[in-house]
Symmetry: C2
């Protein structure tokens, strides 16, 4: 006896949805049935938005999101100074830095960090492009704003060595106690970094 199943179009839809991160077989089935059954689903709009995403590419200069291979919004902004270059892991790391409103230089996204376990070596990152920019733009300061985990540290150290021949001052963002938390919730590594990174306080007038 032939077993009754979903029509091929639903099975294909479930298989495609299941590929998306965080979507398991159950969620994929739920979304697929919603797309097919719900009057509010308007699958055409969702499909169009997904197709449109192919127009997004990495900014050829800094690696942030740009549309149709043109320079990104940040690189097009002529009020920003190329004298300070901030290196980040992912293009998504640029948004939280921008939200601080404190940085008016330019960025360089590496597209990841060195991680032997994930088979990501320096050659898989946008490091060649960074060296190229160092030569052409000759920034006065390079800020390393990579993660505080093992891979971020390793990548920072690798870059520090690589950028040593350039005249730019090399800095890295501070590691220490997060705002709004007490010492009791900080782990030892964070506290030891907060200690060694201590800064001199101005004397009260």
């Amino acid at each position: 006896m032939k077993r009754v199943e979903y029509p091929a179009a639903i099975k294909a839809l479930i298989a495609q949805l299941k590929r998306m991160p965080g979507i398991g077989p159950r969620s994929a089935e739920r979304i697929a049935l919603w797309l097919v059954l719900s009057r509010d689903a308007r699958p055409g709009e969702i499909a169009a938005a997904i197709s449109e995403s192919a127009r997004i590419s990495a900014c050829p200069r800094c690696g942030f999101f740009a549309e149709e291979s043109s320079l990104c919004e940040i690189c097009r902004d002529e009020s920003r100074t190329p004298e300070v270059l901030c290196v980040v892991e992912q293009p998504t790391d640029i948004l939280p830095l921008e939200r601080t409103g404190m940085f008016r230089g330019t960025y360089h996204s590496l597209g990841g960090r060195i991680s032997p376990l994930d088979h990501i070596g320096p050659e898989n990152l946008r490091i060649e492009a960074l060296l190229e920019r160092m030569k052409i733009e000759a920034p006065k300061e390079v800020i390393l704003a990579l993660g505080g985990d093992v891979e971020g540290e390793a990548t920072s150290n690798y870059l520090a060595e690589l950028l040593e021949p350039f005249p730019a001052t090399l800095t890295r963002i501070a590691q220490g106690l997060p705002a709004g938390t007490g010492l009791e919730s900080a782990d030892e590594l964070t506290l030891s970094r907060a200690l060694s990174g201590r800064t001199k306080m101005a004397k009260p007038n």
Copy 2:
């Protein structure tokens, strides 16, 4: 100072993904970035599968999934008897029943159940179509396979009254102890239904 944000195409994509059931703002952003950044994403394939889902419609006879408004796989199967008609709430309820391999009749999906809280009354369900089938197909038995919750019960009772004038025998699926569980995990209502639905055991030879 103008705040840097995602390009419009990414923002539109996040907004569309967020409409899908079970997808919150965080998951939507994660999926959107995956679609844009990952080499494995192949967004065109996902968009195509979603577009294709518009081709799925309800079988005009039983309400199960069918392609391009034709009869569904079950209704096209001539080896199935129209003498037994099994009424379910949703087209998705048909698959688990089919998996039992025990039913060779036809189905009728109501497309929901009576639920005043959700503003779903009998007029929103495929009840007219069911009465039409009762007249034309004149099944000998109608099995009500609706849910065991309050709305399912209410819908079953409503249908029982409505189908009373027809000569068909009206049955409903049994409620009782789920397979593989002990009495200690059954709630009172399940147990009381299991008790009142008790069946006579054959005497051992």
